[in-house]
């Protein structure tokens, strides 16, 4: 019994370990992969990724925090619907999200068509489209974590502070936010990681163009599918994304540790 558990556990661990070992090994083994890391197009993709994810995470915080708070305190009519709606992008395949975004904000979309008719502006193929795609798939992760964080804050504490004369905004800033800090940060990191890894919705909704909409994951696909960087480029870009993911996880772990103490 113990042996079976040990074997299953080892196999499971190896299953997750080997792909990363393979990636690192390939990057070390193939000098072209290291060369590709220095290619200007890699820096461009990194810049696009950082720029777009910064904006989409900011938008997620800006719109997601009030939504999460309202959902946690159940003060919204139709809150259950909003709750279910926000879960949908988490379980939905990103490619479906991309198609759905086109039907709403594309040039022939419900909102996209009248907007283009009025202003001449179209969303697809722009950096804004990348941000929209990222926000659509990633913000729900933040809202979910933030909502759980707010729910864990005792409403009594907020009520007491209110009786002592603090304004609602003051209570939120000084009582609620600090108490929910851990889950909020965890949500932020998850949201950022998801936005950084976004591929399917972006490819369909925003397309792929170097210097405009081609983020790191899209650059991996372009390199793999015969782009000038080739497979070594795909390996190099993957390594870069892996390093970013590890860094994000490290931040999360560190914050969790500090939150516990």
């Amino acid at each position: 019994m113990t042996l079976a558990v040990a074997v299953l556990g080892t196999v499971f661990a190896l299953f997750f370990l080997l792909p990363f070992v393979g990636l690192v090994w390939r990057a070390i083994d193939d000098p072209r992969a290291r060369e590709a890391l220095g290619d200007p197009s890699v820096a461009t993709a990194l810049r696009i990724s950082m720029l777009t994810t910064s904006v989409s995470v900011t938008l997620s915080l800006l719109f997601g925090t009030p939504a999460a708070y309202l959902l946690a305190r159940r003060q919204v009519p139709g809150g259950a619907v909003l709750d279910a709606l926000l879960d949908l992008p988490i379980v939905l395949p990103p490619t479906v999200a991309g198609v759905a975004l086109l039907t709403a904000f594309g040039r022939r979309g419900l909102l996209g068509e009248p907007i283009e008719a009025l202003t001449g502006l179209a969303l697809p193929f722009t950096m804004l489209a990348v941000i929209v795609a990222q926000t659509f798939v990633a913000a729900p992760l933040y809202v979910r974590a933030a909502r759980a964080g707010f729910e864990a804050v005792d409403p009594e504490l907020e009520a007491i502070a209110r009786t002592l004369g603090a304004s609602r905004a003051h209570v939120f800033r000084r009582i609620t936010l600090p108490l929910a800090r851990g889950p909020l940060l965890a949500g932020l990191v998850l949201c950022w990681a998801r936005a950084l890894g976004e591929l399917g919705a972006t490819l369909i909704f925003a397309g792929s163009l170097v210097g405009r909409t081609q983020t790191l994951p899209l650059a991996v696909v372009a390199a793999f599918e015969g782009g000038p960087l080739g497979l070594p480029g795909a390996v190099a870009l993957s390594l870069l994304l892996l390093a970013t993911a590890v860094a994000l996880l490290a931040v999360l772990r560190l914050a969790a540790k500090r939150g516990l103490t």
Binding site: F125, L203, S208, L209, G226, G227
Partner: protein, 266 residues
């Protein structure tokens, strides 16, 4: 003892050589099992027809089709993907497949031409020159994807002519909004109405009712060559060579011709 070893060796060698020398049209019973065909996206409909006809001719076979850009397929094959056949939309990607991965050199089996695809009734683009008009949303295939390479060749040819002039290519490239992974992804952007124009194969336009063609003049057009080769990673060498032979047979060529491909002179 040594003589015996020599004899055995000779028999084995003769046997192997004999196998390779088998005529390319074996009987229907000898050809069986699964044949995995990795083919360029633009062959989607044509090779679906081919597979059906091949299975009808060799009832004990099952053809599995895998469509993607030739560039992506070449990468997969070099990484050891277990395909029996590679049908590439250009020579470049066939040459990118390492020699030891191919069990026979590639042969040209079909030709195609480039055309501009635009959403039906869209006024944005009426001629090839219109691709360079300001604010026309153009979508091309990515670098390395054959139709992207051919499109670049065509634009470069136009650039050299007096009718289009210097800067034409740069103006079109400035209009490019996206570089898609394969020709069908390019076409989809036009079908959706997101792109005003795209450069695809003439055979692709026929598959999309929402799209209409704008001709690219012969002087700037490019004839694309489809190249097919059996692969060493495949498990079914006999069926693979039968498939290649079938594609190049009058019956196979007629199927391609029905889908709008041009048949190369033999």
């Amino acid at each position: 003892m040594r003589a015996l070893a020599c004899l055995i060796l000779t028999v084995v060698v003769l046997g192997v050589v004999g196998c390779q020398a088998t005529p390319s049209t074996p009987s229907a019973d000898e050809v069986n099992g699964e044949v995995v065909v990795s083919a360029a996206s633009s062959l989607t409909e044509a090779f679906s027809d081919t597979a059906k006809a091949f299975e009808a001719k060799y009832p004990r076979t099952k053809v599995t089709l895998n469509f993607a850009s030739s560039a992506a397929l070449a990468t997969q094959i070099n990484e050891g993907a277990p395909a029996d056949i590679f049908a590439s939309a250009d020579r470049v990607q066939m040459d990118n497949v390492k020699a030891e991965r191919k069990s026979a050199p590639g042969v040209v089996f079909a030709l195609n031409r480039l055309v501009i695809a635009k959403p039906k009734g869209s006024p944005a683009v009426a001629t090839y020159a219109d691709l360079a008009k300001p604010n026309v949303k153009v979508v091309l295939a990515a670098d390395g994807v054959p139709v992207g390479t051919y499109a670049t060749q065509s634009l470069a040819a136009a650039e050299k002519s007096a009718a289009f002039g210097t800067g034409f290519q740069a103006r079109v490239i400035a209009n490019v909004r996206s570089r898609e992974a394969n020709v069908r992804a390019v076409l989809t952007k036009v079908q959706l109405g997101e792109a005003d124009a795209a450069i695809v194969y003439s055979t692709d336009v026929a598959t999309a009712p929402e799209v209409e063609p704008v001709a690219i003049p012969d002087a700037y057009n490019v004839t694309s060559e489809y190249v097919i080769a059996p692969l060493t990673a495949g498990k079914n060498a006999r069926a693979a060579s039968a498939f290649v032979a079938f594609v190049r047979s009058p019956e196979g060529q007629a199927l391609l011709s029905q889908r709008g491909f041009t048949i190369p002179a033999r």
